[in-house]
């Protein structure tokens, strides 16, 4: 049996409904992965995280390798034990954070050397070490080491990054030792269709358990992102899961699913939750706003999340105002549930063959909502 099974495809677009099978259980796709950067989804105990409907979560290799370090994670029994999460986990390769968090990064064909954002220590990372660390962390899905280019970037630089990404993908696959872990390759190429095509061809040629689109959601905007996804997704095997890294807002998710994407991760639900920003089907709500001071409405009427079942807007506003941790905690829970409910709706719409019509309407709603915090 393959690790990825397609259940149905929407008749009107490229949207797919599937199941990804991992060593820690199945993931219904399209799926959204909450981010547990350093081994914790910020402020959310595992039971409450499960209650949001999350089936798979993401942790960052970069953060974990620096603190507490892979030796410690191993001694503590591996990543699942550390996070007290018995469902699937995906780790990224560390590449994205190396480039985004560190000014003092030196890169060559061998790999990268960077100054830790924690203590400035010089650290080397390359395909072999990134895979070795991920093997030892023990996630269910691990990622090839890649070079992520910023936006905007000279096409020449993107081309070099693509070449390295391909070479490192090959080395990543060769370095992968741990059975039971799925290894995904990453397609780079910025917003350039020709570079995306070239990269996709090589990465598919090498062969992976799944394929990710990297280097998006780095400032290129919704239109550029979706155009790139629509160009690239069809170049990937239909039989493997497709993962759009670091995305995104509700409109991004819907449009990317329409283009054939199966997996997403993003810090938005938790980061925005910590900043008093709530996602709702009626558009965003800023809970610090004084209009909510004595509101007895839940954050999102009809929502079944822990926050909306127990607390009203006026209370959440008070918690943020008073600096109470419960504000960020409860709003993160709501936002995580909002994202999982959106994915659940998307899956149902695909199953029932109505996704493309639904998506057209939904994109209007979420595009008109000014939903950036």
């Amino acid at each position: 049996m393959s690790h990825f099974e397609l259940i149905s495809q929407d008749p009107g677009c490229a949207a797919r409904r599937g199941v990804l099978t991992t060593a820690h259980g199945a993931v219904q796709t399209p799926a959204f992965m909450p981010v547990g950067t350093a081994g914790a989804v910020k402020g959310i105990v595992p039971d409450l995280l499960k209650e949001t409907g999350a089936e798979i979560i993401l942790a960052n290799t970069y953060h974990l390798m620096l603190r507490p370090g892979v030796d410690v994670v191993e001694k503590l029994g591996g990543l699942h034990r550390l996070m007290a999460w018995d469902r699937p986990i995906l780790t990224d390769s560390g590449g994205y954070q190396v480039f985004s968090l560190n000014a003092l990064t030196e890169i060559d064909d061998e790999g990268v050397e960077f100054a830790s954002h924690i203590d400035g220590a010089r650290v080397r990372l390359n395909a072999e070490t990134a895979i070795d660390i991920q093997n030892r962390l023990g996630a269910d899905v691990i990622m090839a080491f890649d070079e992520c280019t910023p936006f905007p970037a000279e096409k020449n630089d993107v081309e070099k990054a693509v070449a390295r990404t391909i070479a490192w993908a090959e080395r990543s696959k060769a370095a992968h030792r741990r059975s039971g872990q799925l290894l995904f390759g990453i397609v780079q190429g910025g917003v350039h269709p020709d570079l995306r095509s070239a990269c996709a061809e090589e990465i598919v040629q090498i062969g992976f358990d799944g394929y990710a689109l990297g280097g998006l959601s780095v400032g290129e905007g919704h239109e550029n992102m979706i155009r790139t996804v629509e160009h690239t997704a069809p170049l990937l095997p239909t039989t493997a899961p497709r993962y759009l890294m670091g995305v995104g807002m509700p409109a991004d998710l819907i449009a990317a699913v329409r283009a054939g994407i199966d997996m997403f991760d993003c810090v938005l639900p938790t980061r925005n939750g910590r900043n008093a920003f709530a996602f709702t089907a009626q558009g965003p709500i800023r809970l610090r706003n004084s209009t909510h001071i004595d509101s007895t409405e839940p954050v999102e009427p009809g929502c079944d999340c822990y926050c909306c079942r127990h607390f009203v807007r006026g209370t959440i506003r008070h918690f943020f105002n008073a600096g109470e941790m419960l504000g960020p905690i409860l709003l993160s829970i709501h936002n995580l549930r909002f994202f999982q409910r959106l994915m659940s709706t998307i899956r149902t719409q695909i199953e029932e063959g109505r996704f493309s019509a639904w998506a057209e309407e939904a994109l209007k709603t979420y595009a008109t909502a000014s939903d950036n915090p």
Copy 2:
């Protein structure tokens, strides 16, 4: 039926096992109340708080009157609705915080005027307003307005505070309007037996649903505190609950129960939890300590709390090290459970008539443990 029923008394000391009945249910005594200063027990959602065994929690009138304000709490449906807590709640009178948090406090026989610690606004509080606010907040147990003296203090000043506390107790009782709320009186008098005796006599004469010892745990030390409790508790009616305010460490609780105290509140479990300090039956543990870096032991072996069931010491240390909210959250949960388990053990020991022997041994354990953070 009285609101307070004594189930059993220890044959070897003054310890009592009782049940306090309130509008939101029963409380088994001796009881420990976690503190939800501004309407939230910091970082702990109500379901997890219930799981620690808490039957009654405390909220601070002073904090709630300043933010969000009693009007807002009323509009949001009252304190139980705000806190999403359907079990009993006790509010203090605000007096303690007025004196401890504000340098610019003016006090006369009528009441106090202070500068809000939030915005410096001048606020007046007296017996009538303190009771009115507590009536409107809607807790199950409310406290008379009192003057809390610091330690050390001139005996003359303590005497004046006792006189005011008595006068304000009378006014508090007269001002109390809301049925279904129990009103407790407070005995002041510092560490002076004669003043405690005089105050207790007057407060009992006025007549309340319960009696609190205030003005302790303000720097006088364990010996002074317990000597004062041992002197004062027998002066109070056996038929009403006795509440030692703001206490305390495990040894304080055990010694005070032995002297006949039924109720306690303290921020220690949550405050120490936020500072990486764990209470355990084997003595305190500081989770930032590098000795825990790769420890796969739970915080307290054998503990049934959410933290100990899911996480090991090495992980908790990592969370504190990385600034993850889960560190403070999980350790607060553990400490709250530790305190509730201690109270549960105390109740069982009293029921079985073995408390005084048990307490003697337990006090040795907790006295030798250097258990201040």
